[in-house]
């Protein structure tokens, strides 16, 4: 089922002024409910402009955005409801923490939705559990947390809104490898359990390879590629021309194939790489079973 769709979506900043600049031109695509879509593109390709259209932070200068088949701007006064259904986490969301305690900060969204106390408490506990924040931390000021914990608290605040679509702009930027792995694993587990549709913007091809079912590549405000993750990463030359790259492991398999090894080109995680090579080596009598 299609949950999110754009039709000839266009966005021009400063339309009608001398500073007019087209950020999105004729963007057409659909997102299936319950999938994870990665959005990549070099700086200035239109990624952030695009995601801000999904919950009505920006209004299209042409075309439309449909949520569950209905244009989100049909009834402009109801745009607030769209924002409850489509959660958006900005880059470096920890800068948006503001409340006295972590608990109150996470509760801010659900409270604004007009939920009752019990439901708010349930959601806060669940969201904290999803991101791995202990009960002890919930009572502390968000400003006393470490950088990684702050990031988790900010994510929990949006997860607690239990929206149908969750959009994350660079959720792992600036985190160390352990922090990055932990947040991605937890987000992915949450996604599998809840069936939330997720759109993730990232500069890290390795992260995208781990989480995305499909990848959209933006270039100069247009969709350059939109396909299954493996299919996108098999087009290394095109990605490089667009200022992007493939995960290093994919580069290894392109090289092996060029050297005549019978491997596929769409290997994009280390685990898949190992599982591809081991049987080949074993056929040749190498390695233990």
């Amino acid at each position: 089922m299609t949950i999110l769709e754009t039709k000839k979506l266009r966005h021009i900043y400063g339309e009608g002024t001398p500073f007019e600049q087209a950020a999105l031109t004729e963007v057409d695509f659909t997102v299936e409910s319950g999938t994870v879509v990665g959005i990549i593109g070099h700086s200035g390709s239109g990624k952030s402009t695009l995601v801000q259209h999904f919950n009505g932070l920006l209004k299209p200068t042409g075309g439309e955005v449909l949520l569950k088949g209905k244009s989100i701007w049909d009834e402009p006064k109801k745009i607030r409801e769209v924002r409850f259904q489509v959660g958006l986490v900005f880059q470096y969301p920890e800068y948006q923490l503001f409340d006295e305690t972590v608990e109150k900060d996470i509760a801010f969204g659900p409270k604004n939705m007009g939920l009752d106390e019990n439901e708010i408490a349930r959601r806060v506990a669940h969201a904290a559990d999803v991101v791995g924040l202990s009960e002890r931390l919930l009572k502390r000021s968000p400003f006393d947390l470490s950088g990684g914990e702050k990031r988790r608290a900010a994510l929990a605040g949006v997860i607690a809104m239990e929206s149908d679509v969750l959009i994350l702009d660079e959720p792992t930027a600036g985190l160390d490898p352990r922090g990055r792995d932990s947040i991605l694993d937890r987000l992915l587990r949450f996604q599998r359990e809840s069936g939330t549709t997720m759109l993730i913007v990232s500069h890290s091809m390795e992260d995208m390879a781990r989480v995305a079912d499909k990848i959209m590549v933006l270039d100069h405000g247009r969709i350059a590629l939109y396909d299954e993750t493996g299919a996108v990463f098999s087009r290394a030359a095109e990605l490089k021309a667009l200022g992007l790259d493939v995960p290093q492991i994919t580069g290894v398999f392109h090289g092996l194939r060029k050297n005549g090894l019978p491997v596929e080109e769409n290997v994009y995680t280390v685990a898949k790489g190992r599982d591809t090579l081991l049987p080949l080596f074993r056929e040749r009598g190498q390695g233990t079973c």
């Binding site: 593109g41 070099h42 700086s43 200035g44 006393d144 470490s146 950088g147 990684g148 930027a173 600036g174 985190l175 160390d176 490898p177 352990r178 922090g179 500069h203 091809m205 390795e206 200022g243 992007l244 790259d245 995960p247 290093q248 492991i249 580069g251 290894v252 090289g255 092996l256 050297n259 090894l261 280390v270 790489g273 190992r274 090579l277 081991l278 080949l280 080596f281 040749r284 009598g285 190498q286 390695g287 233990t288």
Partner: protein
């Protein structure tokens, strides 16, 4: 070769209220002139604190920090020490001050009281070194992230420090921007013999250095060539770090009993090693 940077039994902490913010304990480290050292470590391991100590933004509570032989806590020679260390931070926007690229690059030498003709020469040279000479009349805010970061590097270069300390300079950049900045860093070392200290979370960037220092709990947990460090896959994972993907693939294949060499770091080396092992039979 002489050491440009020396830390002698340095201890520093931000106080009890900030226990988890990168303290340093009894750290001794020296960096040779002209070398390229990458510093790795999880968040809060003390990496960025080293940068702040080297730049003189923080002074050690115990021990001493020397830059080109000058003690950073020597108030009379503080400026001289600072002149020898150029700093580049994560966000170039916080570091760019002027509205025209070449004026921004001139800002540092102007403040050092350099002669105008010499400033002109240095600005041109610095912009050429980072490959941004074409953009000298542009406004920095119209540049891409990678270009801005290269302008920030040129601004530091124009002050002619002997050592450049870069604290996660590519964290905010897209893959092309990351590539541009890394190429610039390698060129500075080759052409100017600049000493480079690169603090990073990207293992493939650390793999380009001559030496990798791994920080954990305010101490040095490992110190060696990239090959030595990244062959300790399990240890790095315990320290909350990663290894480059080609290294990890080789490690996993070795664990399954395939005979492959140690110390594989790059995509090309990995392709060669696997191909060779495969063709042997």
């Amino acid at each position: 070769m002489a050491a440009v940077i020396e830390l002698e039994h340095v201890t520093f902490s931000y106080g009890e209220e900030a226990e988890d913010q990168g303290f340093i304990e009894d750290l001794s480290l020296s960096v040779e002139e002209g070398s390229f050292v990458a510093v790795l470590g999880h968040n809060g391991s003390g990496k960025s604190t080293i940068a702040k100590l080297l730049s003189g933004l923080k002074l050690p509570q115990k021990g001493r920090v020397f830059v080109c032989g000058i003690d950073t806590s020597d108030e009379e020679r503080e400026l001289e020490a600072k002149k020898n260390i150029g700093m580049v931070f994560q966000t170039p926007d916080n570091q760019i001050v002027a509205t025209i690229v070449e004026e921004d690059v001139a800002f540092g030498p102007e403040n050092l009281g350099v002669e105008p003709s010499e400033i002109r020469r240095r600005v041109d040279e610095a912009l050429a070194a980072v490959g941004m000479e074409e953009y000298k009349d542009h406004a920095p805010n119209k540049l891409s992230g990678g270009q801005k970061q290269r302008v920030a590097i040129a601004g530091v270069l124009a002050m002619q420090p002997r050592c450049m300390v870069l604290d996660e300079p590519t964290a905010m950049l897209d893959p092309r921007g990351r590539g541009e900045v890394m190429k610039t860093i390698l060129r500075l070392r080759e052409q100017y013999g600049m000493t480079i200290v690169l603090i990073t979370h990207y293992m493939n960037e650390a793999a380009m250095a001559d030496r990798v220092v791994v920080m954990d709990d305010g101490r040095v947990a490992a110190d060696g060539t990239p090959r030595e460090i990244f062959s300790q896959v399990q240890k790095l994972k315990q320290l909350g770090l990663d290894v480059p993907q080609p290294t990890e693939l080789i490690d996993q294949l070795k664990q399954a009993g395939i005979d492959l060499p140690d110390g594989i770091l790059t995509v090309d080396e990995c392709v060669q090693a696997v191909t060779r092992a495969f063709m042997e039979e």
